[in-house]
């Protein structure tokens, strides 16, 4: 077999067909795992061919439009993450979870395969028409994946679909606009036409594409659908969706807004009165996308909702990094896509495992699971350190790059905003691990056991990736550079451990080694020094003179961070509720307006508008 894009797509669609036929079979999970692994192998083999583009032999004409596919470096980078996320999700579902954890393993395997196939098709698009087709397929495949739990998931998925269709229409409008103006849809034609476009055209394109792709990224103010839609999906489905699905929006923005239009052009778009340019505006929107969802996450009582809200916030770092536009910033934003996918997948898988064993993800109804599910605990610990962006995990490296790029470009306020998001994340992920795994073990959970290997295997494997790419970020940066150079940015200067720049260095090899060595010294002092410690039962605890029994609930989980929430609680109501109310009211007004236009035939006005527009086009 010669690895080619055709082989990749054949494997992806073959997998879809196979799952449609044999998805109920107990071996289906294993089978799809093998097929995802093969897709990963093909992608790795394709790497040398990316410089000139790996084209597909598949090309056909529909109504005079030619459709063809080609994978470039950027698409390859996202494809690797997609296939990787699918592989680990399928692994999780391959064993006990597929039998007992879900209503329909068939639905899970089929929708996962459909999502991967649709995403690969999107990532390999060569012109705007295939991009749009891929985009719609991804939207609908995502919908199919979200509805599989039924109940509240159906409602959340429906909400997503409405947003998704609106976004799709915005993308379609942009595609039509480009076709009319540029006279072609091929990326080459678009790239040739883009530099000469007028400011008005640029505004139109930026808004249409920003809305269209921003909705998929759950970019503020289009963020309201995502948490519910992802959170209500079953464990591994949420892991896959959370890890990569939203990044398709980032891919669209990168290819059209960053690659074709170019960040420099965005600087020309000055806002009237304020004097800010469009790029700074986007960056501040990214910063708000980091902060507001992070603090909404802090308030959640359901672990999956908490994670899903963080997913929205983390998307802000990626776009913020890319919009800085320096090599370090773009690499940081792209690296964050990879890093985020690794730890977010772990977190959703762990919560999937907890739900599998306990039946709930409610943060007030868990606790003390560390003694029962130690491997899940370790996986979650690694992943939350990654999500919080602390050394020694990989999340720190990509966030460091974004911070550094912001400081180097003289944007300290955005840097402060990004760090505030990180601080909020630390608080919120600590609440997560505390309420689920630490504290008092409940009586009803005393008999549960660790999940089987098919479930802890992917969690531990992924959390090791989180650690290793934090220790040696150069490994992940090798992948990032493929995407970065294909976007038209210069490659970043880096080594296995990090970076040497004129304004400050980062060498994770040194940082992590010293940290591990320090822990070794600490272990020596603590374990060898002093008297031997004696293990006591969890009820052998200080209770102000009271006697603790199993009936006494002795775990602080409800209304965590009470002091902070007393202060910022009212802000949620004033700021966020009003913001959301404003968005809802605006949508209502627009809907009512278009409804009125559609239902009531103001023929003369429509005729007048059409005539004016026609004249404007002709003259």
């Amino acid at each position: 077999m010669i690895p080619s894009l055709d082989l990749l797509l054949a494997l992806a669609f073959g997998n879809l067909g196979l799952m449609l036929l044999a998805g109920r079979n107990p071996t289906a999970g294993l089978l799809s795992m093998i097929l995802y692994a093969l897709q990963g192998w093909v992608l790795v083999m394709l790497m040398p061919a990316l410089a000139e583009g790996a084209a597909s032999g598949l090309a056909f004409q529909v109504f005079g439009w030619s459709l063809s596919w080609e994978l470039n470096g950027l698409g390859w980078f996202f494809a690797i993450i997609t296939v990787g996320a699918a592989f680990f999700s399928a692994w999780f579902a391959a064993g006990a979870w597929g039998v007992q954890g879900t209503r329909s393993p068939w639905a899970f395997h089929v929708t996962l395969a459909a999502n991967v196939a649709a995403m690969l098709l999107l990532l390999a698009s060569r012109d705007l028409l295939t991009l749009f087709i891929g985009w719609e397929l991804v939207t609908w495949a995502g919908y199919a994946m979200m509805i599989q739990s039924g109940g509240p998931a159906t409602r959340a998925a429906y909400k997503y679909l409405i947003y998704g269709v609106a976004g799709g229409l915005a993308v379609l409008a942009a595609v039509v606009l480009i076709q009319v103006q540029a006279g072609g849809l091929g990326f080459a034609a678009v790239a040739a036409w883009m530099p000469g476009i007028s400011t008005g055209m640029l505004w139109a394109l930026m808004l249409l594409l920003g809305v269209g792709f921003g909705i998929k990224m759950a970019f503020l103010p289009f963020h309201r659908w995502q948490a519910e839609a992802y959170g209500e999906s079953p464990g591994p489905a949420a892991a896959f969706l959370g890890a990569i699905s939203s990044r398709m929006g980032l891919f669209g923005l990168l290819i059209l807004l960053v690659h074709f239009i170019g960040l420099a052009r965005l600087d020309e778009l000055l806002l009237p009165l304020i004097g800010l340019d469009a790029r700074i505006l986007w960056m501040w929107l990214s910063a708000l996308t980091i902060i507001i969802p992070t603090f909404i996450a802090l308030k959640q009582n359901d672990a999956r909702m908490l994670l899903a809200w963080h997913g929205i916030g983390q998307g802000g770092y990626m776009l913020l990094g890319v919009l800085v536009g320096s090599e370090l910033g773009v690499a940081g934003g792209l690296l964050h896509v990879f890093n985020y996918a690794t730890y977010q997948a772990v977190l959703f898988l762990v919560m999937g495992a907890v739900v599998y064993r306990t039946g709930t993800a409610h943060l007030d109804r868990l606790g003390g699971l560390i003694t029962r599910m130690p491997l899940s605990y370790v996986a979650m610990l690694f992943a939350i350190i990654g999500l919080a962006g602390l050394p020694p995990m990989n999340g720190f490296v990509s966030k460091w790059m974004v911070y550094k790029a912001l400081l180097d470009e003289g944007l300290p306020l955005l840097f402060v905003a990004a760090v505030i998001g990180t601080l909020g994340t630390i608080l919120s992920v600590f609440k997560l691990i505390h309420n689920v795994f630490l504290g008092q073990l409940r009586v009803e959970h005393e008999q549960i056991r660790e999940v089987p290997f098919s479930m802890w295997g992917p969690m531990i494997a992924l959390s090791l990736i989180v650690f290793i790419t934090g220790y040696m970020p150069g490994l992940a940066l090798d992948l990032v550079m493929v995407a970065q150079t294909s976007l038209g940015f210069a490659a970043l200067d880096y080594h296995l451990g990090g970076f040497v720049t004129d304004t400050g260095n980062l060498n994770m090899l040194a940082v992590v080694s010293v940290l591990l060595l320090g822990m070794g010294i600490g272990a020596g002092i603590f374990l060898l020094g002093g008297n031997k410690s004696k293990r006591v039962h969890q009820l052998d605890n200080y209770a102000g003179g009271h006697f603790l029994t199993t009936e006494v609930r002795y775990h602080y989980s409800h209304h965590f961070y009470a002091g902070l929430l007393r202060l910022i609680g009212p802000w949620y109501i004033t700021l966020i509720k009003r913001l959301e109310g404003g968005i809802a009211a605006l949508t209502d007004t627009l809907a009512a307006g278009s409804d009125g236009l559609y239902r009531t035939a103001y023929t003369p006005i429509l005729m007048l508008a059409a005539t004016v527009l026609g004249l404007a086009l002709v003259l």
Partner: protein, 302 residues
């Protein structure tokens, strides 16, 4: 960058040891200062060390499971790593492998370690203390991060040895405290909170044992917290000296500077009552943050 293994190994062992010794003396100074203000004599010279040795040698050492012990190791490891990445006179090999941002995030590792350990004890009183401690961290890190951003803007670098070199080239008027007095003031206030001193010490709450992180910490677990306190005093004062007071030219001036820096919050702490948690956040997000933002604005205008 070439690797001088011998030198690195020496740094790795000497720097944390020095930090610990200096930190012990700082604890002694803090306790004597408080004693003098309260017209007491204060503890003898070796008291801070005896306290730790006593706690380590207690016969009953209550452990609440593996995570309780591992978290202490993480805490000590994070502290040791922090000391190694601080530039001090004669030892800055490792400081070139990281920068101010790395250090700030390394400083959160021991906090996280402590938080995990306390939670592993399954005592809600401890967890309440941790919730308060993390809230306080969110509060004091906002003004602190703004001052770091301001320093990075002023010096044009985040490398700590570079920052020291720039300040030392220009002499006294090149010092951060002279160049950006507002930021230096804001950092001083957030340092007070970072060290957990009045009026920002509700999360330590030494007077109410039942609701603080230390609830289930006894024996060598508590002793390790004492060690952490030594490291913390040293780290924060060295970082402040590095950013605002020109770092250390030699060990004599360096020690004078860091002891003066520690003496300020340790004196102020005796004259304040205590804020509630939400008042800590509200106050720190108001005054020091406003001062820091004005300071940052001034730096940006240059």
């Amino acid at each position: 960058m070439d690797f001088d293994w011998q030198h690195m190994l020496i740094e790795l062992l000497v720097m944390p040891t020095l930090a610990f010794v200096v930190g012990l003396v700082m604890v002694l100074m803090a306790r004597r200062l408080r004693a003098r203000i309260e017209r007491r004599v204060g503890p003898p010279f070796w008291q801070p060390l005896w306290d730790i040795l006593k706690l380590y040698s207690k016969r009953t050492q209550v452990s609440h499971g593996h995570m309780h012990e591992i978290s202490i190791i993480v805490l000590l490891g994070g502290m040791i790593a922090m000391e190694v990445f601080l530039p001090v006179p004669g030892f800055d090999t490792f400081a070139h492998h990281g920068d101010a941002l790395t250090l700030i995030y390394l400083m959160m590792v021991p906090t996280l370690g402590m938080a995990l350990g306390v939670s592993a004890c399954a005592n809600p009183n401890g967890s309440i203390g941790i919730a308060r401690a993390l809230t306080a961290m969110l509060a004091y890190d906002v003004p602190f991060i703004i001052t770091v951003a301001g320093a990075a803007m002023l010096y044009g670098t985040t490398s700590l040895p570079e920052i020291i070199a720039i300040q030392q080239q220009q002499g006294l008027e090149g010092w951060g405290a002279v160049q950006m007095p507002l930021l230096a003031l804001a950092a001083l206030i957030s340092m007070q909170a970072m060290l957990g001193k009045e009026p920002f010490e509700i999360y330590v709450a030494p007077a109410e044992i039942a609701t603080g992180p230390m609830t289930e910490m006894s024996g060598k677990f508590l002793g390790s917290m004492f060690i952490m306190q030594c490291f913390q005093l040293y780290t924060v004062s060295v970082l402040y000296t590095t950013l605002f007071l020109g770092g250390g030219e030699n060990w004599a001036t360096f020690l004078i500077k860091i002891f003066v820096v520690v003496a300020i919050p340790m004196t102020l702490t005796n004259i304040f009552p205590r804020y509630k948690t939400e008042a800590v956040v509200a106050w720190l997000w108001k005054w020091p943050t406003a001062i820091a933002l004005v300071g940052l604005f001034v730096v940006m205008m240059r």
